[in-house]
Symmetry: C2
Subunit: 198 residues, 2 copies
DNA sequence: CCCCAACTTGGACAACTGTCCCAGACGCTT
DNA sequence: AAGCGTCTGGGACAGTTGTCCAAGTTGGGG
């Protein structure tokens, strides 16, 4: 059989786990199921990972990183702060709608991380990363549109994450993309009201 | 041993499952673990439920109902729409902070329901209930404060649910109640801006 | 008083789980 | 050609899982 380096196998297994969880849920992510999805023998699993938890830690990091990169393009300046915010949010939304499994996986991982000591802190760091990214995006938008926020960026970042998270979950449940975009647009308008020209 | 009617046993098992999932996560909710928590022999499980899925269906319905009742007190009118909205949200928040496990359980159930055909529709109905409750609350608030919403209540209800959901998840991860209240207050002010005197 | 339906219970089952071992095959270095 | 670390893959392990039985016990209605 095709010989694969341990590093490549790790990557294959992580991607396979991602696919399995996205399609069949966290409970289906057994070592055997993951190996089958990756086309690897069962023993390859513990040749590459000390335990299943180790796989999950890496899965979380990789998924969060992928998500951050996906929205790294980030700021889209079009006219005023209102339009720019709306456009930026819509752009972000496009990445979610294009890969909802990613969010399904994160949902499962978050729940799992709350009770698995080996994953403690992973979820927290994941959300801190969200908040940092959101804060950066908001600052960049304000700069580009020559306005200042009338609330601390950290608080606004938190509000942004709350909205994106909420919209994502609602979409995962009812799969109504129009409602999602409508909600995002409305919030963009609201948040844009929290600026003053500088 | 104390003889218990099948109906009571069902209730005991559902409550036990709730406690187990809230404290140890969805993965820990095995039939044996649930029965142990309920102080019932393993065989009692399948005397009361045809399968584990049936238990989960009932758990979801009971949990959603409990949540709806908890926030049924609902509307708190104090001064203008802004203050009333804020107070109502804070009141809701108190119920979440008092019983975060309920939200942990719902998180797990939602993820599970996405992939279990026997639970398909349960999550959707759960969210529809949220939206209805939110719409009712918003209408009542507007009435009490003699204002009208400048957007359709359905859309506002969706926004409310998005916010409450997002705040809840953020809290479950970082357990920062101050940040949660601050975020809620900010959103209350924003939403209050979407009214005009009637 | 007795009997039948409702309830209890320990044990068993086959399937599945995470993890591990070990003999073998590969391919790079010397 | 020979050696050696890297990778393969089948099989096995002990434990856990959901589910089910068949034999028991109970208490209220005839």
């Amino acid at each position: 059989m095709a010989r694969v380096s341990a590093a490549d196998r790790r990557r294959q297994l992580v991607e396979a786990a991602f696919r399995v969880i996205g399609a069949e849920g966290f409970a289906a992510a057994t070592t055997r199921r993951i190996c089958a999805e990756a086309g690897a023998p069962v023993a390859a699993f513990h040749y590459c990972f000390a335990s299943k938890s180790e796989l999950f830690v890496e899965l979380t990091e990789v998924t969060v990183a992928a998500l951050r990169d996906a929205q790294a393009g980030g700021v889209h300046v079009v006219g005023g702060i209102g339009e720019s915010l709306r456009e930026t949010l819509r752009q972000w939304w496009a990445t979610v709608e294009a890969a909802p499994e990613r969010e399904v996986v994160l949902t499962g991982l978050t729940h799992h991380a709350m009770h698995e000591p080996s994953l403690a802190g992973v979820a927290r760091r994941q959300y801190e990363a969200y908040h940092r990214t959101a804060a950066t995006t908001l600052s960049a938008l304000a700069d580009a549109c020559a306005v200042t926020w009338t609330l601390p960026v950290e608080q606004l970042a938190r509000m942004l994450v709350v909205v994106t998270d909420g919209v994502t979950i609602a979409y995962l449940v009812d799969r109504d993309p129009d409602a999602a975009v409508r909600t995002l647009d409305a919030f963009a308008r609201l948040l844009a009201g929290l600026t003053s020209p500088s």
